[in-house]
Amino acid sequence: MESRRTRIALGVWVAIVLAFLYLPIALICLYAFNRSNVQSWPIPGLTTKWFGPAIHNGEMQQALWLSLKAAVVATVIALVLGTLASFGVHRFRFFGRDAISFLLVLPIALPGIITGMALNSYFTYWKVNFSLLTIVIGHATFCVVVVYNNVIARLRRVPGSLTEASMDLGADGWQTFRYVTFPTISTALISGGLLAFALSFDEVIVTTFTAGAQNTLPIWIFGQIRLGQQLPQVNVVVFLILAVTIIPVAVAQRMTRESGILRTE
């Protein structure tokens, strides 16, 4: 085992890194109560007066709703395409197999501005109006790989014998998928889907190029930073979103803890 000194040192390191990670977030939450609408240190005073206007802000509500819609649809597309791709790559050997992983990782490995610019001129060429559809397509490109990686990592751990056993017992392909395969990958789908949702929800660069006269939440936030007049409202919104998402993230984490059957050690 690691020495006691090492354990303590690493424990301290973890604490420091967590403090580093959460200091700006603590500031965001604190400044949701800022008495002034201009941010400066130290905080001039505390108030809850921004909560009402922020929650009732029509533009913010529309932006939040659009972001949620886009994230849900993009995640669903990512789940479908990512699962299909991972099954295809995992089950079959063929020429160009590695190329698929490469292809899927490109949107996340290449700068978002390239995806954004490319899709923008592509949609313009095909005379597609900028709308929820174009936003979703943009997000789906980089969300697929997140699901794909999670699922294929899980598939590699699942013994192929399970599928064969199922078929030996008389189940057809669909039943095998539904009763045997899907449960084994379901937690991979959940963690992949959750990360894909987070990526889509917070995305700003690609969305700047693929959205029309509509704002997703990050674009609304960017506009507020430009304007500088209602910043505490941004802090309120982020604070509330964090408070709300702790629960699903924690729940998802509990659901995705490995069960002993699938460990391949």
């Binding site: 002034s36 609408n37 201009v38 941010q39 400066s40 240190w41 029509g58 533009e59 819609k69 849900v72 649809v73 669903v76 789940l79 923008n120 949609f123 313009t124 005379k127 109006n129 900028f130 709308s131 929820l132 559809l133 539904r178 899907f182 449960p183 379901s186 029309g212 006269a213 509509q214 704002n215 506009g223 507020q224 930073i225 430009r226 304007l227 500088g228 007049q229 910043l231």
Partner: protein, 371 residues
């Protein structure tokens, strides 16, 4: 597991249903507008939507350049109107991205201050390509506790006294500010108009800006960001809009503004109508509405700029006492004349010669300057 599947299908159904919902519930059309942040606040947009039956969808942009690009995107079919500043409006006119406006169809046009009815940045060849909206000077803003004595000349942002505490906008049109300074301090260059610069004059302006660069703390990308910089001690003086001044005052920051003795550049925004819009009816309704004294006063006091409607003053003072004087809404003509409003630099120098630097060269030079 079946529950999970059903949950997934339910989410899919909900998500798929909603793009269809939310389609035009109003009887009028939808105006997709490209605007500066803060120009389409619910305070004056909601009453318009209720009165006219038209719906407004806003696309905010942070710079005139971006507005031009947006108006041209999708073959010009994406947006119906744009609140273009003077450095963009001519580009839009010459690029045939906006259409002429028949001002006889806009009753409130008559209330506009004569100086802003046909300014050169939106009226070409006698045709109006939009209706003037609001304007403001590019002021010299300074921190009264750190900058002493109070500056009276633009030289203060070109001298090393406050090195590392100066800020100017991140905008190629800023070259005109340098040209304006040279116009008054280096007459030998023969600059008559800070937007019409031949290569010698242009290079001199760039040289001045290069000299200034080590003094610059930041080229501010937006009004809100400059407010942050003045409030938090990052900068002590620089070029700004009255918008920043009003926000800083409200936040009790010790700042003051001045139009230095060399004069100042300024901006005049115009609401323009896309050449490809399908909602001309709503567009004219908006042009008339936003030119009314009340809407003008609301926007002016809300944002911190000067209205073009001569009758807006009393309403401004009701909304925010003293604001009419603060924003020089009723200033004499002489006040406007000292301001060199933004216009797009083009190769045609206006004196028969065609060797002035066009805007593309300004943009390239600005990128090189930042480095």
């Amino acid at each position: 597991m079946t529950k999970r599947m059903w949950a997934l299908i339910a989410m899919l159904a909900v998500a798929a249903a909603f793009p269809a919902a939310g389609a035009s519930r109003q009887s009028g059309g939808t105006l997709k507008m490209v605007a500066w942040e803060g120009y389409l606040e619910p305070l004056w947009v909601k009453p318009f939507e209720q009165q006219s039956g038209c719906t407004i969808q806003a696309k905010y942009a942070g710079s005139s350049d971006e507005m031009v690009t947006l108006m041209r995107s999708g073959g010009g079919n994406q947006y119906d109107m744009v609140s273009a500043s003077g450095d963009a409006s001519l580009r839009l006119i010459y690029g045939k991205d906006v259409q002429p406006v028949d001002v006889s169809k806009i009753p409130n046009f008559k209330q506009l201050n004569p100086a802003f009815r046909s300014p050169p940045n939106n009226t070409v060849g006698g045709k109006h390509y939009g209706v003037s909206l609001q304007w403001g000077p590019n002021i010299l803003l300074y921190n009264t506790t750190k900058v002493k004595p109070a500056p009276t000349s633009w030289s203060s942002i070109y001298s090393p006294k406050y090195k590392g505490k100066i800020t100017v906008p991140d905008n190629p049109i800023q070259i005109a500010d340098a040209a304006l300074y040279l116009m008054k301090t280096k007459a030998s260059l023969g600059i008559k108009d800070p937007y019409e610069l031949n290569s010698t004059q242009f290079n001199a302006a760039i040289a001045l800006l290069k000299q200034q660069k080590p003094l610059i703390k930041r080229y501010w990308p937006s009004g809100g960001q400059e407010v942050n910089d003045f409030k938090n001690g990052n900068v002590w003086l620089g070029a700004a809009w009255p918008y920043q001044l009003s926000l800083l005052r409200a936040a009790k920051a010790p700042v003051k503004d001045v139009i230095p003795r060399e004069g100042a550049t300024g901006w005049l925004d115009t609401w323009m109508v896309s050449a490809h819009t399908k909602n001309l009816d709503c567009a004219y309704k908006w042009l008339n509405y936003i030119s009314s004294a009340k809407a003008q006063a609301q926007q002016a006091t809300n944002y911190g700029e000067t209205p073009v409607n001569a009758k807006a003053c009393p309403i401004m003072n009701k909304l925010s006492p003293g604001s009419c004087a603060v924003y020089h809404a009723n200033a004499p003509l002489a006040y406007f004349k000292q301001i060199h409003f933004w216009k797009t630099p083009i190769a045609d120098c206006g004196n028969g010669k065609k060797d002035c630097m066009d805007y593309t060269k300004w943009q390239q030079a600005w990128t090189q300057l930042k480095g």
